[in-house]
Structures are given as structure tokens and as C-alpha cells.
Assembly symmetry: C4
Amino acid sequence: MSARPFLKITAPLNGLLAAVGLVTVAALTAREIGSTTRLSLELVLAAIWAVYVLQLVDTLIRRRATDDRGLTPELVIDLMAVVVPLIGFLLAGSPDQGLYCGIWLLKPLRHFTFFRMLGRVVARAAPNLVGVTSVFGIVLFGASLIAYLIERDVQPDKFGSIPLAMWWAVTTLSTTGYGDEIPMTFAGRVLAGLVMMSGIGIFALWAGILATGFFEEVRRQDFVRNWQLVAAVPLFQKLGSAAFVEIVRALRPRVVPAGAIICRKGEAGDQMFFIVEGRVSIQTPSPIPVELGPGSFFGEMALMTGEPRSATVSAVTEVSLLSLYSEDFQMLSSSNPEIADVIRRTAEERRGGAGQG
Amino acid sequence: MSARPFLKITAPLNGLLAAVGLVTVAALTAREIGSTTRLSLELVLAAIWAVYVLQLVDTLIRRRATDDRGLTPELVIDLMAVVVPLIGFLLAGSPDQGLYCGIWLLKPLRHFTFFRMLGRVVARAAPNLVGVTSVFGIVLFGASLIAYLIERDVQPDKFGSIPLAMWWAVTTLSTTGYGDEIPMTFAGRVLAGLVMMSGIGIFALWAGILATGFFEEVRRQDFVRNWQLVAAVPLFQKLGSAAFVEIVRALRPRVVPAGAIICRKGEAGDQMFFIVEGRVSIQTPSPIPVELGPGSFFGEMALMTGEPRSATVSAVTEVSLLSLYSEDFQMLSSSNPEIADVIRRTAEERRGGAGQG
Amino acid sequence: MSARPFLKITAPLNGLLAAVGLVTVAALTAREIGSTTRLSLELVLAAIWAVYVLQLVDTLIRRRATDDRGLTPELVIDLMAVVVPLIGFLLAGSPDQGLYCGIWLLKPLRHFTFFRMLGRVVARAAPNLVGVTSVFGIVLFGASLIAYLIERDVQPDKFGSIPLAMWWAVTTLSTTGYGDEIPMTFAGRVLAGLVMMSGIGIFALWAGILATGFFEEVRRQDFVRNWQLVAAVPLFQKLGSAAFVEIVRALRPRVVPAGAIICRKGEAGDQMFFIVEGRVSIQTPSPIPVELGPGSFFGEMALMTGEPRSATVSAVTEVSLLSLYSEDFQMLSSSNPEIADVIRRTAEERRGGAGQG
Amino acid sequence: MSARPFLKITAPLNGLLAAVGLVTVAALTAREIGSTTRLSLELVLAAIWAVYVLQLVDTLIRRRATDDRGLTPELVIDLMAVVVPLIGFLLAGSPDQGLYCGIWLLKPLRHFTFFRMLGRVVARAAPNLVGVTSVFGIVLFGASLIAYLIERDVQPDKFGSIPLAMWWAVTTLSTTGYGDEIPMTFAGRVLAGLVMMSGIGIFALWAGILATGFFEEVRRQDFVRNWQLVAAVPLFQKLGSAAFVEIVRALRPRVVPAGAIICRKGEAGDQMFFIVEGRVSIQTPSPIPVELGPGSFFGEMALMTGEPRSATVSAVTEVSLLSLYSEDFQMLSSSNPEIADVIRRTAEERRGGAGQG
């Protein structure tokens, strides 16, 4: 837990450092730069390299603390970011030394949770993606072969072999269309039209497969998020079994517009709430209302005691909530005596405390 | 409420004005226009500017009426639409004065609810969109670096530095393909093919993420629309608590084909209906049937009294309905005595009235 | 109903005729064709025109039979397909006469149900599509304005006015990339890269909105299809009220792999089945089994009498079914005495008949 | 079943062979290769051809074993892969002999289940895909006709006939943009802009339709996968009727994070689990825990006997599970006495066995 705030700070900083480094690498390859500019650019690279050495040391220390072993991707990236430019400096000639810093391209992969998500989506959709790529390959080769047969006599310099025709085919199938190789015959142009349409179709397949994959992944992540929300409630932390999953399954989503009252003081409480998105305001006896944001929960006393609500809660912004109904919870309790025990004990402890439910 | 009809008129008018203004700005930059044409075009700009001054005044008056404070985006846009061209007129030289009216580009952002929706979709999908953009950047830099290494000796004028190679890479990765920089070596062309395929893949990722985002947003908006439909029923307006949310959750969607009978006079009524889309016709004793459109509701008497339907209702067009079943409603009433009270009183009041249920 | 088989034959024929006609129109514009070829091509056009006159007559006759009034889209298309080429023949000079047959482009719109579906999807997604198109326009104008400012001094012939710059912008934003106008300055190329990425983003938005629209439409069509399946059961045709909708809602989808047994002779029957897709085989006492395809239903006796299944039914192909459970049906009957009446009478009638249930 | 492991080995090998063969075909068309290289390339082709002869023989033997008749697609592909190059060798002249091996392009179609899935998605979406292709054709012809009218006088060599204009239109509508034909007039450029936007729209339609199709197909495949999971449980294999489908329908999905405990020794067991993805660990009395992977099931004793869990099971990785609740199962048993019988007998048999439930 203690490493997370630090990580949150360094993720954008890390991205910025890598971006600056790569821009410097790019600038170093320009011919018109003077030797002073070159020197200062090289100093920038050296400075970034020094930061990366520190980062590697930090990673190694944290690894020892958490007793990890083996090469994690994080460690590999941190190691390469330090070692590869060093090798470049020692072995390569002067103008190309900077290029070895291109390895810093991998640095952003270290933090983003997106890359892990993308990995899961791609891994799950892999058979379909491989399939579409095969279709791409088959159409590519087929189109090249036919274009070669059609155009080889008309434009021997551009379609005189299948590899040459394949350059035209990939340019056309991806709808890039450089325009350096264009079929001249009527049959060749009809083929080109069909290849362009196939390109769009293959593109659409890719998009369709990835859209489906993302949709499924987002739904899975919702479940994991709900799990984390439930896991944050002290009451439920004492449970450690399948009943926990049941509670997560029993959550029901709800969107409340800004300004709506979610529960009223004195009402019978039949549910507790988890805030997924947005903010709610709790009217306490003190003049300044308390606000709760994403990840918070309220109304949990009602689940255990069935007492009326002790405060009015209203939505400050549009709020996305998850409700846990007392019926669902009681049903779970009746079949899992463990839950009932935990509730009775917690309710007794908290009766004197400051619950909002 | 009083401002809405006015707004509905000005939204397309506003778009039209901005479009005319921008076309005028564009026309003014053409060199071949004569001085008479130039003058008349400038008069058009002046006229539109005058309308925008009026609109700014109107916005300020309405703001005072509704007691808003601070800079709303609407006010900022209205202010800039007036002030920026004025600055241009005072400070800039003659040929470029008109360009300052380019700020009117922002005017359409003032009205469309679409931009707010787009904002929400993008905000929610932001981590993924940032992630894909990072992938774009990484592939872009990586491709530039490799293309530079491969092609720099063959085409030093086109691939002689990473920034030059990057221009080729962005043109290829986005499958735009200007054709001004084309790899000549075999390795360069294989790289180009891979870059084109990556481009299509990144494009598909973007599409997949946004499709998922839009789907989720449309589902959310359905909930908000249902909320508004329920909020328009006088009976429910007397409720102001969580019970309201429960009613919204209890609604069940249904599509009825054109011509189908939705409920028959004399039948037992077990549900009330909200019209989401399409039109229904109510057969009243008078010869001309009453038609109801989106946002209307009918059959609400059945919820309270359980009396038989007082009229036959049929679908004029394909109709999308939401049903509130009396079982659901009674279940809610039994747990919320507040609802039961409201119902009894309303039913007594309306017994002599002209309900359609 | 009698017109449908005729329509099914003419829809592809119609498409073929239009395609042949349009290819002929295209061929007529080629310069190198001789006068004999020209004459024969013109005869083809005349022949197709004659067929279209017959089709117009047929449409008019069918209209009288069904007592339609007003201009249906079908009639407008048929009229224009005849009248426009006639006007061309009478008024236009010789080489361009054939072009008027280009109106036959509209002929395919006459039949495809796809165009109606597309219309509904587009109509429902209209606000979002208009919104994205506005974004397209705003980015287009903004990019043109900035490109004009950046490049006007470097390439006055290509970026010397906003309309010229706009041609570059639309070519780039749509990732078409003709390559006739290319920014030369560094700032211009950075702008071009951003415009390409915006183009991909706008494209992805469009795809996302339309994907969501299609998904919703497919779900709606499922409901309408279920409605039609239920409406084809004689038993249910005697119902004509909201109960009908309830039956449709009570259907539950199921996919059965090829070869699986759906119900067994002598088993207690608790549901009836509608075939959405695929084929089932009913083992009758006779050696040749009866096969049922999409739109058929079986097991309806079980709904009414609760008697055991009279035959074994198995899936020949993978079958997509809808089940109506007797519990659901009985629940509906108990609240709608009308249904119960219809059932009792039908069951008595059919007891001597050949039900499969 | 016995052929499957063999198939799994040959699928990638087959793809590799075809890829090597096609690259060789492509290389043979290059002009600069010497006669030694040519000979060795031809030997590679001959070797691959020999492997394909063996594969054909294997397919024929397996066919005899399984008593298949008629031309399956697999057999057709295997036959053509052998016969077509043979014909090429016998009939064609020397330089083009290798091209006949291009037929090996079809080899990958033989194995991938993706192609069957793609076939189903395309078949189901066929009306919509045909519709969009019609829209493509209509826009293509319409744009060509208008471009011809606008540009024929300005650029007679490029837009002098509709077929010439059509080449421009297909290049633009697919956003390929070779840049060899570009409208020069103002009207022509406005048209080009509209055609590009239509191209993006049609593209988005295609993507939307295919995304919807893939989503539906993935959901169908989930059902089939669940069917297979249930079919693998010995207990259920004794059932062969509609009850089987009911069991599949009663499964409820669940995702459990890595490390979570799924069930605990001594707890009351109310469900059995099927593993869809990921791995679980069962703590047995022996020190080494047993791990189960996708396709396994556990906890089935609880369904029959209601006895407490005999072992603790925890998730090793994130696990995707399907639960069958004993309530659901008991409900099914009560209506299908057949199930109850099977359970009683199986439970008695297994009481002495090593169930994990």
C-alpha cells in the first residue's frame, strides 16, 4: 500500500522523462545541429540516464523489501534502460551513441495498467486476431499473385515479381495508397478495387473483435471493482469464504441524478450503498455537510439492525451506486451462520459508534 | 422551462450563423476576389458579429435571472465570440482581420448535448484512450528509429534524421500515405507493411474502446430518461426519496408493433405505461381518437384502484414502452408506507377525474 | 401475402437489371467504342427501360388492389426510373442521353429491408452522428485555418487561402492522403500528424456510435421476430390483447447443439418450442422422420394438457430455440381468464388431432 | 478423439509449410536470382509437395476409418494442393510452373476454427453486409457519374469516361488515395470531400455490423462451451434429455481474484463449480496441493449429498467459474424424477470414492 502514492507520482513523470529522452535522441540525428547544441543534448541524455539509474536502485530496494525473486517485467525494463545506453556509449561510434537510448521507449510500459488490460484483451481474442491476420496474409498473397500475372507485362519495373507486387498489395490492402505503384490495366484496377474493399472488411473485422474483447473486459473489471468495494467494508472483511462472492453478486447498480435524495433521515433503511462514481452529501447535525466520494459506502447499519436512517443523504453530482439489499443480505446470513455471527457481534460493537446508517 | 423553446430555435440558427461566418472568413482569404466582394463579405462578418453581441447580452440577462455566478462555458464562448474579432479589428493588419472570426468555430459547442455526452464518454474511457495513444507514440517512435537506421544511407534527404523518418512513420501509421516518402530497401518495405498493419490495429483499438464507451453511456442515458419519464407523473412527484429510484428500477421495457392493441376497455389493468418512442391512440367515446406521443403515460389508474381499463389503447406506430406492473408497485408500497398514503389520497381525488386507466 | 413470392424473385433480378443498366451507362461514356457497339448498348438500355415500364404498371396495379394512396417511396422510384430517362431522350443531346439512366441507381433501394433498418439506426443515432459530423467540421476548419497561417508563405500556390488549405485538411483528416498538397514546414507537419490522429479518432467515434445503434436494433428485431413466431401459433391468434405481449416476453432463448435430444417421447412436457434457426427432426411412428425448420413450433399440446410428449424431437443442426414454459403460461392464464378459455376450447378440439406435443 | 492431438500438432506446421511454400513461389518470380538458387528453390517446392502428398494419403486413410463420404472441404483442399501443382508442372512453361503452387494459399483454411466462426458471423450478418455493399456500390456509381460530369472537360484524360471516374471514386471512397487522379475544379473537390466522408461512414457501418455479429457469436460460443463443461461431468452424462439443457441454463458465471478462497473445508456446500479459465488449488491432506485447470469441475458431491466440503479450494490465478447451485439442481430434480434417480444411485456409488465435494 505504501508504494502506491509514490507510483502515482512517478508514472506521469516517468512518461515525461521518456518523452524528453526520445525527443532528444531524435534531435541528435538531425544534421544541421551545431556542436554546442549537440553537447547540451547529450547532457540531457546523461541526466535522464542518471535518473534511471536511481530508479533502478529504487526498484531493487523495493524488491528486497517485498521479497520478490525472478525477473519481473518492471525490473527487466529498468535494467535495460540503464544497461543498453551504457553498452552504446562503450561500443558504438559517436554519431549513433544516442540511438541506444531508444530503449527508453519501453519505460512507459512499466506503469500503465492499460498495457496489462490490453494484454488480457489480446490474449483472450488471440485465436480470432490470428485468424484475421491469416485472412490478411491470404488476401495479400492472392492479390499479389493475381496482380503480378495481370500487370507484369505492362509495368515490369513495378509488378515484375511477386515481391514487387506484394508491396503494391500491402499498400492497397491497408488503404494507405502511396501511389508509387498503380495498376494500369482494366483488370488490374478492378482487382485493386476489390483489394481496397477487402482491406476495409479486414479492418472492420479487427475492430469488431477488439470491440467485443473490450466490452467483455470492462464487464470483468466491474466485477473486480465491486469486489474491492465490498472488501473495503470492515464488516465484510471478517468473512473470508464463498459468502463474500455471494455478497458481490448481490450488489445492484443504480444511477442517481445530481440533487436527488438517496435516503432520508428517519426512513426505514433496507439497503446499504457503495459509491462507484460521483459524490454524495450527508446532512449531519453540524452545519457543514460531509461529502463522500468514489470507494466510500454508507447505510451499513441498516443491514444489521434494521433501524431507521440516521441522516439524509443526497447526490451532489450524478452518482453511480451499488446497493446491497437487506433481503439479499439476510438470505445470505440465514444460509451462512458465520455471517450472522459476524453481524451480531459487529452491530453490538458499533451501537455506540458513529454509523451513518 | 421558459428558456427551452427559445433555445431550441437558436441551436440550429446558431450553427447556421457560425457556418456562414466561417465560410465568409474562408472566402476572404482567397486572392482573386475583388474589392466589392471583399466589402460585402466584411459586412456579412459585421452583421454576424452584431447578432453575437445581442446573444451575449441575452446570455447575461438570463444569467442574472437564474442567479448564476462564475464563468460558465456558455458565457466564455459568447464573450470570446464578441471580444476576439474586436481585438482582431483593432490590432491586426487588414488582410488578416477576418481570421479572428475563426473563434466562431466554438459557437456550436454551446448548444449540442452531444458534446457533453462525448465529454463523459471520453472522460470515462480516458485511461484506455491515453493508453492507446501511448501505444501509437511508442510504435511511431520505434518505427521512425528503425526506418532511419534502414533507409538513411539510401535516401539521406528523406530518412536522414529521426524527425524526417517520423514524418514518414506518422503518414504510414495513420494509413494516410501521402507518397512523398517511400522506403526503397526490402527491409524498409517489410517495416512499412508492419507499420501499416499496426496502424490498422491501433485504429481498431480506438474504435473498440469508444464503441464500448458509447454503449455504456447509452445504457446510462436510458436510466436517466426513465427517471425523467417517472418524474413527469404527478402521482410520483409527491414521492421524493429512494422509493423513487425503486420505481425507476421496476420499469420493464417492451416494443409493440404498429397496430397492436396495448390494452382493452374492460380488461383488468395490471400495469401502467410510459411511451419512450412512437405514438399510441386512445379510443375515447368521442369519434376522434386521442393520440399520445413520447413522454406521455397512461393506465396509471390501474396501479391505484385495480379497476378495469376505461379505454382501448392501440399502437399507431411501432411503440417503445416502459411498463410499471402493479405487483412491483404494490410491493414497493407495502415497504414504503409513504407511497401507500400518496396513492390512497390521489386515487380519491382522481376518482371523479378523467384518467385514461 | 400473395405478392411476397413474386417480390422475392424480383429483388435480385431488379438488382441485376440495375447493375447491367448502370454498367451500360458507364460503357457508353467511353470514347473508343465504335458505333455498332454504341447502338447495341443503347438497345440494352431501351430493353431495361421497357422492363421498368412493365414494373411500374405492375406497381400501379398492386397499389389499386391494396387501396394505397399517396406517393409511396416504391412508386416514386418506379416513376422516376421511367420518366427521367424519357426526359433525357427527348431533351438532351446525343452523347449524354444515356446518363439520365443513372437514376436507376435508386432501384435497389426499392426492395432491401436493409435500407429500412439502416434508416432506423441512423434516425435513432442522428443526434450523435450530427454531433460527430460537427466535430469533423470544426476540426476541418480549425486545421485549415492553422495550416493556412503556417504554410501560406512557404507554398502560396497550395496553402494560399483557407479553401485551398481545406482541400489539404479534408484529404488528411479522412486519411485519404492524395499527396498533392503536403505541408513543408516543421510546424505544418506536426499539425498534419495531429490532424491524422483526429481523423482516426473521429472515424472511431462514428464506428462506435453505429456499432451501438446496430446492436440495439438487432435486439429490437429479435423482439419483433419473437412476436411473429408467437403470432403464427393458431392457439395464440385468438388472443388479441396485452396478454399477447406477455407471452412474447415470457419466451426464453436457448441454443441446442446438433444431435442433442430436445424432448423425449413419454416425458412430462413442461414447455413448447419455437425454432428461430436450424432444423429439428421429429421421430414419428412412420420410418421417415418429419423435419421442422425456422418459424415452426412444436410441443404446444403440453402447454394446455400437461400430457406426456407424444414424440422424440432431436436437433438436426445446431438449433436456436425459444421456450415457453407452462409455468409462465399458466401464470398468464390465471390472470387473464380469456387465455384459459381459449386453451380449454382449443385443447378439446385438438385432442383427436395430430399434435406433436 | 484420437485424431485431435495429431491435428493440434499439424495445424501450425501446416501453416508454416504453406508460408514457406508461398515465399518460395514469390522468390522464384524475382528476375535477378541465379540458376543455382532457382534450382534449390524448386527443390523446396518439390519437398513441400511431397509432404502434401503424404498429408493427402493420411486424410484419405482417416476418411476410410470414419466412414465419411462425399467431398469435405478438407479433402478438396488436400486434393487441390497436390493436383494443381502437378498440372502446372506438366502443362505450363518453365518460368510460371511455380505459380501453380499458389494454391497452397488455401491450406490454412483447413484447420482454423476461426474460419468456421467467421463463416457463421458473415452468414448471419449477410443481409446487412450485402446491404452495406449495395450502399458502397450506389455511392461509388453516383460519385463517378457526378465526377465525370464535373471534371470531364477539365481533365479528359483522367475523368473522360465513367469507368475512368470510377477508378478515382473507388480510390477515394476507400480512403486509399493513390493521388494519380485528383479533381481540379472547386465542385469536384467538394464532391471528393463528401465521398471521403461517405467512405468513412460506410467503413463504420461495416465495423458496426461485424462488431455486433462477433458479440452475438461470442455469447453463443459461451453457451456451447458451458454445454461441453456440463457434458464432461460423469453424473450428468447419464442424463440425455431436455433436463440437460436446463442444467446448462442454470449455470451462473463468477470471477474470483487470485488468492481468494472459493470454498472451505467443513463449510456447508451448496454449489458445484466448473473452471472456465484460470487455475485453482485444492488443499489435500498430502503436502502437495492438487491444481485443477480449465474444463475441470469440483464440489459435485455437495449437489447430491449436501455434506460439508471435504477440502479447501483457493484460486491460484484469477479464475472464471460457473456455479451450479443445489437449489437449482434440486428444483430440476423434483420435476425430472430421472435426475433424482441418477443422483441417488451415483451418490451411493461414490460415497466410498474420492470426491472433492
